[in-house]
Subunit: 138 residues, 2 copies
DNA sequence: TTTGCTGCAAAAGTTTTGCAAACTT
DNA sequence: AAGTTTGCAAAACTTTTGCAGCAAA
């Protein structure tokens, strides 16, 4: 299935109206497969789509757990597809984000839910440090 | 040792100039012992201290690892003292943050550093869900 | 005395919003 | 036809900055 079809399918699944804007935004997130800012996504889109529309839809997508909003580090949020489970390693010098695949910490999540009396439905784990290039520069 | 003395000691330790503004800001963070926004900290301070000064100093404090900046969830960052090791449980409905004490995941941190070729010096772990009150409301 | 810090005010940057027109279902 | 979504432009918010005067070492 190509990214466009995947985007439409996802939108249908979560019951959102399928507009060209939404399909294009989601398609780009799927195709670029990274950690993108609203601005970066907008830059790839045809110019009739406004940045406000991008922001509004990213917000909806995130609320419906289609994407994750990553708000650590730099001043603006980054977004990624929510369908892969992994953690993040972040360079504090150049802000680059790397994915880190590791078995999910389900027992820890369970313990946190018990102790805090929360209904926990997901967790994130971030490692902060210096990437290889920035390490060398110091 | 009271919060004021503790604040001065900490400032001296990290080699910052001791100004009344800094002592008051840090004293408040110590005394309130929570997860505070710049605005909330500013509100507690005498009015001659400007919000810009609060922001600037929070940034310095965070760079020198005196405090942690928590930037998940809501639109503005929250700050906490950096001297306790714990994780966070966040309510996605009311934005409340609870602390969760748990042994540090040092092996996972080591694995992440190896895989990503990063020099990792810290990590954070956040659990997202609903707190007891918000659970009831649904 | 030197250097760094603060207040002030303004700027910068990100994200949200109101509304009429256009589009999806 | 009903109800959403979009573009546009402006607003709202958080955070940063420039600079002159002041304060800490």
């Amino acid at each position: 299935m190509d990214a466009e079809q995947a985007a439409k399918t996802k939108l249908k699944e979560i019951g959102m109206r399928i507009t060209p804007q939404r399909v294009l935004i989601l398609k780009n997130i799927i195709a670029m497969n990274g950690h993108l800012t609203a601005e970066e996504i907008h830059r790839e889109l045809p110019s009739f789509i406004t940045l406000a529309t991008v922001y509004n839809n990213l917000k909806y997508f995130a609320e419906l757990n289609l994407i994750n909003e990553l708000s650590f580090g730099s001043s603006c949020s980054k977004y990624e597809l929510a369908d892969t489970s992994h953690y993040h390693v972040i360079c504090e010098s150049c802000q680059q984000i790397a994915d880190f695949n590791y078995p999910l910490l389900n027992e820890v999540e369970y313990a946190a839910a018990q102790v805090a009396h929360f209904k926990v439905h997901r967790h994130t784990l971030e490692f902060y440090g210096l990437c290889q290039e920035c390490k060398k520069k110091k």
